[in-house]
Subunit: 360 residues, 2 copies
């Protein structure tokens, strides 16, 4: 299928399973044997209505969501959920608590402040967001606690949920379906598709319905979760193709054995890569060991003058998307669900060869 | 490419050019010879950055937009622009005028009321939205006048712009790029992609920059046009694939000769179909003749008991998407830019044969 074999370590949009891409391409010419492209059929046609229903069912199945939750496929990315969560759940005179573990948390806090009283429960800003803060404060009268499950830029991840009895709002953009989630602790989880769920263009929101309808201010129709709940996520034209490819990807996750199987697959890949980082004298991991992400492995090269040469060595081996985010520098290997073990082996191989060549 | 030849008359998502679908499918397996799918590459990669820039340039070129305008590819559909236009341009104590020509105008009015004082300049509700009202009132101190350029459900269309010196906000969702537009009369035009521009999943907003930054209320970052203007429509991850396919479709429009050539092509198709409706004793057009749409041709069958039989006859000829919207009934033939003359000929042929068979 591909012109040359590439190992795709992009942070997002990111690698998707080969079998999904194959079906996704086929649907662009002839979807469901309709003799039409999926790009040009009505979203009210039975063929697409079924795709949306399957996507909603799969999202609920893979997260263990009960009937009290609704699965919505919206647009606008996680960035839109930063304000939509607060807009739908918080009154101006109410308080919500937020944990700041990096860039995305910071943005979520900024938007929520437009709708209520926002308190900081914890932050890891003091050490360049290298860790997940465990001690929480200011939870007193908060309506919910918001956290970012995995931090793509810094390479940290929650390995257990924040220690509170408050309903959680979780930004799971970069680790949804990569491991089981305890949805019963949550009021809302949301995730931009473009890491573990599909291509850019849709955002999954799983919302506990009894949390809604309690705010006094008016909400534009399209920003009110209830609008989408009442119409099965089809109030207006949904992002048809992004939902379709997400549905295919969720089906692939289910076929692989679901989030439990993904967790074991992802742990194996992460262990291989962190082992190499820790053993190779040329490299140093960025995040604290106990909070390391199994999705985004961040590391630096000890001799920064070798940075470009390492990127070049990766490139020659077919490895793309390895450069770190500009706010951390160094390297970032994103090893989402669809990354095969073979891709990580290739990267480890390049690291070892490069290390030998440069006398480490 | 297709299993069987279909004539796609869906109202939206709708027919796209064959050559666009061919390129769109190819990019899902190997985009730009990168050895990667367009669904799995970073939106910050030079390959996609170029797609976004090309899309912005084409949108401006095809509408004749000068430097005072910015072209944004957002999400959320035209339905999100119903509130975003008012949210970005109107203060609570200011007035805006709206023309009600049907379902979509009604929704735009409802959302705008959350942000300012909305007055009705005209309405065609009194006659089932069969016409475009020409007399306007209440324009006195309005900041802008909002209109819906083409009404997909009722099959009416503005053939000249509303008679006012006020800046216009135009919902061009269903007729953008189908004919030239006088952008200089507008503050904003917006269009959901899924008719004449591409697949569902992105919305074009052309906004005159000097209209912004004048409102007193706070706007969530993602809903502020200035956020997207400042970042070249890449503040957060855009809907990559929908923008790509829209870019291909706009390029196709340019290759066909641009909106002028499209207007002539569309007038020819519409004339053929309306001629048959007017001559065939079995059918009656829905909209008033002078306001008939060249995009969505609405008509009823005089003997309603034949409705299903006509749909069946169309279906046998490979014609899909011909059923009218539930609020109007009858039939609707959507003949957007990508519909070839051949498709309209086929429909006329079926109408004539059906008419003979049923003794008209």
């Amino acid at each position: 299928m591909k012109a040359t074999k590439k190992y795709n370590f992009y942070a997002g949009p990111a690698i998707l399973p080969e079998s999904v891409l194959h079906q996704a391409a086929s649907a662009v010419t002839n979807f469901d044997n309709m003799g039409l492209s999926i790009l040009e059929i009505s979203h009210r046609s039975p063929n697409f209505t079924k795709v949306m229903q399957d996507a909603q069912l799969l999202a609920k199945e893979l997260t263990g969501a009960g009937d009290e939750f609704e699965a919505l496929f919206l647009t606008g990315g996680a960035s839109s959920q930063f304000f939509m969560t607060a807009m739908n759940l918080l009154n101006t005179d109410e308080t919500a608590a937020y944990i700041n573990t990096g860039t995305w948390s910071t943005k979520a806090i900024k938007e929520a402040k437009l709708f209520g009283n926002i308190v900081l429960a914890a932050s890891s800003e003091d050490d360049g967001y290298r860790y997940i803060p465990k001690q929480l404060s200011n939870l007193g009268n908060a309506k919910y606690l918001h956290y970012t499950s995995n931090n793509t830029i810094y390479g940290t991840q929650y390995h257990q949920l924040p220690d509170t009895t408050l309903p959680l709002i979780g930004d799971l953009s970069s680790d949804i379906f990569s491991r089981p989630v305890d949805l019963n602790r949550h009021a809302v989880i949301y995730a931009g598709a473009q890491k573990n769920m599909g291509p850019a263009g849709t955002t999954l929101v799983l919302v506990r319905k009894d949390m809604l309808g309690r705010v006094k201010h008016q909400i534009p129709t399209l920003l009110d979760y209830r609008t989408h709940i009442n119409k099965g996520s089809m109030f207006n034209t949904p992002p048809v193709y992004a939902v379709y490819v997400s549905m295919l990807t969720m089906r692939w996750v289910a076929q692989q054995g679901g989030p439990e199987a993904m967790a074991s697959h992802n742990s194996k890949k992460a262990a291989m890569l962190y082992k190499e980082i820790d053993n190779n004298p040329l490299f140093t991991g960025y995040a604290r060991k106990e909070d390391r992400s199994k999705m985004n492995v961040t590391f630096n090269i000890n001799d920064e003058t070798l940075e470009n040469a390492f990127v070049e060595a990766c490139s020659e081996a077919g490895i793309v998307g390895i450069k770190g985010h500009r706010s951390v520098g160094g390297f970032r290997a994103s090893i989402y669900n669809a990354m095969p073990v073979e891709g990580v082996e290739k990267l480890v191989d390049v690291m070892q060869t490069f290390s030998k060549q440069h006398g480490a």
